[in-house]
Symmetry: C2
Subunit: 308 residues, 2 copies
Amino acid sequence: MNERELIQNLMRDLPSNEQVVVGAGDDCAVVDLGLASDWVLFKIDATIEGVHFTSDAAPEAVGHKALGRCLSDVAAMAGTPSCAVIALGLPHSFDPAYVQAIYQGMRRLADRYHVALVGGETSLSPERITLTVSLIGTVSKDRCVRRTGAQPGDALFVTGELGGSILGKHLSFEPRLAQANWLRAHYDIHAMIDVSDGLATDLRHLMEASGLGAELLAKNIPVSQAARRKAKGNAGAALQAALNDGEDFELLFAVKATDCVTLKDAWAQAFPELNLRCIGKMISDPGLKLRTQDTLREWTQHGYDHFA
Amino acid sequence: MNERELIQNLMRDLPSNEQVVVGAGDDCAVVDLGLASDWVLFKIDATIEGVHFTSDAAPEAVGHKALGRCLSDVAAMAGTPSCAVIALGLPHSFDPAYVQAIYQGMRRLADRYHVALVGGETSLSPERITLTVSLIGTVSKDRCVRRTGAQPGDALFVTGELGGSILGKHLSFEPRLAQANWLRAHYDIHAMIDVSDGLATDLRHLMEASGLGAELLAKNIPVSQAARRKAKGNAGAALQAALNDGEDFELLFAVKATDCVTLKDAWAQAFPELNLRCIGKMISDPGLKLRTQDTLREWTQHGYDHFA
């Protein structure tokens, strides 16, 4: 049984109650606690030494990543983060200065987005430093964007550049909270997800949730400099990295095709320093297709699987 | 630097915002998201193989404990749990049936308290199974019980029996949600905490939060059968276990001394099968004192410290 099958199995028929709007299977859980116009978003993410960061990573960057991953998920639902709690796992002999620097990285990011750090707990984790962050936020009920609402013919957009995140961006990415909220305020975003498992894998999540297929235009996929560097000049390998590498933490979303031109123009005004690229469209036929100059083929490769 | 000093250091001047009612340092964080009469409770707890459970533990019990620890903290603030998310860490080769049984244990407990499990994530944890659970709940603003409100002269009560939890109860305890809500509905509970680090240590938390000391009556401390078994008939060692052992997950609370008799009577009607014991009182003098038949002495021993 692989990770995906296990999770599918575990997530089947989970206990629910009348407060659950969206349970497992979107970027965040969505809960109705009785607020007049808002729902509550709820998320957890573990960041583990040797898995999500190496022991030589700058501790501030580790803290940044641990909190940033949750913030990126709140962004994907066009929400606003509120508070986070942290479960910290430490080996018997730890360097207090290193741990404090991890917290410094979290504090800095929390400050930037007005997120409160409201506590947590510390326990022994003999082999590895682990940081598990849980975040709550809010989203206006009429602005919550899920993975489920894409329509056939919708244009697919992605922010930033993709691939090769392992060379550095996975520790220094900026969660796209401002962009997501701007998008939702000005456009009818049908579906959105953050690109954390790799473009192809996350697009499949969005396709499955919306019951659709998608077609990507290879030449439009924004291949990052890091992906090119990693591919050592091999254009095919660089494209592959942009499609399959994880931890880009960019936004992937579907919007009415007729909104494309105005969206591109308005975006360039609002976020002149961040690329926004139309990379393809949603289609009724199932499956993910990649269109190159002269071929249209199925893209069957998957992104990172912890247990592959 | 020990665990306590590190945490104190990390928790200093954490980023806050206008939604925070209680940040780090109580059983749960308390957040005001704008609900008319309720606050939101927010908690995280990690349950780690080899630290919080041994590899031969029944997986259902492991799941029970992972969720139950958070429920116990919500109980300590007289709140009602709502939803939980779970970060699951698994080694490369895991037994899917074992993991599913862990989830079965969580599901069963969640069902009992009408708690929804709204997702989470799975990642690689090479050496150990880890389960980090985060829980949100609600509490009526006029019923939230903190650690801070104890008054000199208050009677101290504890539910159940204490000590020797390692012999089994740490995996099978029942979170005292019903009892905590009943207590708060009928009495003016000044301060409450769940006994997770050991009676002496958790009482010190409550004393520090309330700026007081406390005096315990040795003969009134409810020493569990497990503590006696562990102590092999040595009464002093059994008492010591009841004072210092962790993971009892009982409620420790302070209430006006004049409420003692009616509380004991009403409790016996409401919860005939669960012991409630008055074990001492809050005093103005700082420090924790233990009164035995002929002596009154400082109790300086501490409970479990992960990094001691």
